[in-house]
């Protein structure tokens, strides 16, 4: 079923005369959900990585004295754990030297075993679960603040608004992970978790749990989950007469949320790992380049761009594309990316990953505070 093979062979044969002066190809894998409900985010990642690779190639890079050409090998993991392992294997089979991906923690974690076994570096532009880098693998990295960092920012900000904090999550790996970190941070900041309620990522009716929380008189309600639940939840909160401030993580901090929540969105606070695009050191230039070629940035394009750049930077530092040689360089790397300064701690997490808090003002998300970062 692989048409690429005979075609590739024919092409290679045709180019044989040119082969003498052709460069070595170094394959970089890029994997994200390219189909399904998060397809727009996965495409964003692919585009960001592609922009990086094309820029790198245009600068005629060399490794070990020889000219090289980087090639992006793209796969779709459908945000599904099993598919993620299958396409991860595919990438390894194709001989990639590094991987930009995955988006979802639920995909990154099972696939990370495959990359680790092959010794290939994995740079995630969007997985925030803490477990991802705590498995004892030397190949797991990410360019985004993890749930612990985000949870801490949310928790402390919540306590600054009011001591009584209620926490709700949607019982997904993302939502629960974030909510647990928020609860921990609230207690550490001197607040009190007055209520802990749960829902699912398919629910639309939250009146029961919200009524239950109303009895506990919270000052702030923090939700770990995505915007299709956060939006009706805040609406129902206002209908029930709960006046607490509503806060949530990056799953909620989107244009969709404001659209779905309507007037109830006003004053809601959401966090997002990384700096606001306009504040990113390379943000302006990157936005222009990206918009010209691919259109609007969703969320992850700058992270994917930096992920690819960082992998190549490590290779250049080691003067080799072999993972065994450039992985140690990756661990010590310190570069300035579009998103800001990039360096990794012992686990592979972004050192001092900044988290930005936004608030809905006049129907738009406006950044109000950045926590962490340099």
């Amino acid at each position: 079923m692989n048409l690429a093979r005979p075609l590739g062979l024919a092409l290679a044969l045709a180019l044989l005369p040119v082969a003498a002066t052709a460069s070595d190809t170094v394959k970089i894998g890029c994997v994200a959900p390219l189909t399904g409900p998060q397809a727009h985010l996965g495409k964003d990642i692919e585009n960001g990585a592609r922009l990086a690779i094309d820029e790198i190639n245009a600068a005629k890079p060399t490794l070990g004295g020889k000219p090289v050409r980087f090639e992006l090998v793209v796969e779709d993991d459908q945000a599904d754990p099993r598919t993620a392992t299958i396409v991860g294997q595919k990438l390894i089979d194709a001989g990639v030297k590094g991987v930009v991906g995955h988006l979802n923690s639920g995909a990154s974690i099972p696939a990370s075993k495959i990359y680790s076994d092959a010794g290939v570096a994995q740079m995630s532009p969007g997985s925030t679960a803490i477990l991802y880098t705590r498995q004892g693998f030397k190949t797991t990295y990410r360019v985004m603040a993890n749930d612990a960092q985000q949870g801490k920012a949310l928790g402390s900000a919540a306590v600054k608004i009011g001591r009584r904090v209620a926490v709700v999550d949607d019982r997904t790996a993302y939502g629960q992970g974030l909510a647990d970190e928020v609860a921990k941070a609230v207690v550490a900041a001197g607040g009190e978790v007055v209520g802990r309620e749960f829902t699912t990522d398919k629910s639309t009716d939250f009146t029961a749990i919200l009524t239950s929380l109303k009895a506990k008189k919270p000052d702030v309600v923090v939700y770990g989950g995505m915007d299709p639940q956060a939006a009706p939840m805040v609406r129902q909160m206002r209908q029930l007469g709960i006046k607490a401030t509503y806060m949530g993580g990056d799953g909620m901090q989107s244009a969709e949320f404001i659209k779905l929540a309507g007037s109830a969105a006003e004053g809601v606070i959401g966090s997002s790992p990384g700096l606001p695009l306009e504040k990113m050191p390379g943000g302006g230039a990157f936005t222009q380049k990206f918009n010209a070629r691919f259109g609007k940035i969703q969320i992850y394009a700058p992270f994917a761009y930096d992920a690819a750049q960082v992998l190549v930077a490590a290779m250049k530092q080691a003067d080799s594309a072999e993972p065994a040689k450039y992985l140690p360089e990756l661990a010590k790397l310190s570069v300035d990316g579009v998103i800001g300064p990039i360096a990794f701690d012992a686990y592979g997490d972004l050192k001092d990953g900044p988290v930005t808090l936004y608030q809905v003002k006049g129907g738009q998300w406006a950044p109000i505070e950045t926590v962490g970062g340099k």
Partner: protein
Amino acid sequence: MTGVGRRLRASSWQGSPRLAWAAFAALGVLLAALPFLVDAGMGRSWVRILDFALLYVMLALGLNIVVGFAGLLDLGYVAFYAVGAYVYALLASPHFGIHLPFWALLPLGAAFACLAGVLLGAPTLRLRGDYLAIVTLGFGEIVRIFLNNLNAPINVTNGPQGVNLIDPIRFGDTALHPSVTLFGVTLPGTHAHYYLFLALTLLTVFVAFRLQRSRIGRAWVAIREDEVAAVAMGINTRNVKLLAFAMGATFGGVGGGLFAAFQGFVSPESFTLLESIMILCMVVLGGMGHIPGVMLGALLLTVLPELLRYIGPLQTAVLGHVAVDPSDLRMLLFGIALVAVMIFRPEGLWPSPQRARELSPDNPDETRQEQETLVDASR
């Protein structure tokens, strides 16, 4: 196995046992060489897909006992799969720090799944068909919700994060992952798992065949065809149905354990209602109650979605852009296939000759009628 041999002989080999055995030998060689052929031709990820396909064959055979043999519609089969997987995961990972050996794990998982089957079946098997379907669906969801939430106050299942770093399958000192060295030959993990799964699948097929031809198997057929008559013949329908549930659950539990070991990671996300429906599709589309049909159904429905992925690039090549997302198409096609099969070919793609006769429109025994007026009820 002799039963299969006899059938093959009767239908096409016209009394030539040597030809039949030659065919078997050829099949055996093909099966043994398959992972290497696939690896060379299509890449190692297809060997992984093949491994999953074998896993689903085992699961489909298990559900076939419940739905195909005994005629009980189980929409929550994934619950047994989940129980088997989680038992394996919890007893062979850093989660509790327990690392039991393989020969203990798989039977334990199967035993727990069997227990779950009995617990589910005991109060509900006297319900009529459609109610049983909904109740089993509910049970499947209840199991999934518990798996997703039993992480407080005592952390049993680690909640939605799932259980990670599960021990690979180990025989003595050799682990099947990442590779196995046998007699100087190094087999990659995917190939090693293939042979193990193949052996277990063949064992499953054997057990299924023996069950089908046993007294229990005949009792199941009797209940499926006419429960009142079966009771009149002195069959203890309750126990027999319970046995079907338990056996199906056991197969599910074994499959679950293998899945956990193979993937190295389990989470409640893998055990949704959709999985139950998929496995049901495999049984129904392949040929309910017919073992080769069910195997075909499982193989097709595992491999076809992978092929569907190529539709994306194909559309881009032909139309210039992707008109319909292939993953959107996948479930739509399954739904259409289900409806179409039940209306036009309810016996499935590869039915047993007996069922095909039963369900065909010109069947003298006539269990289906096109006309609905009273006049036709002359039999």
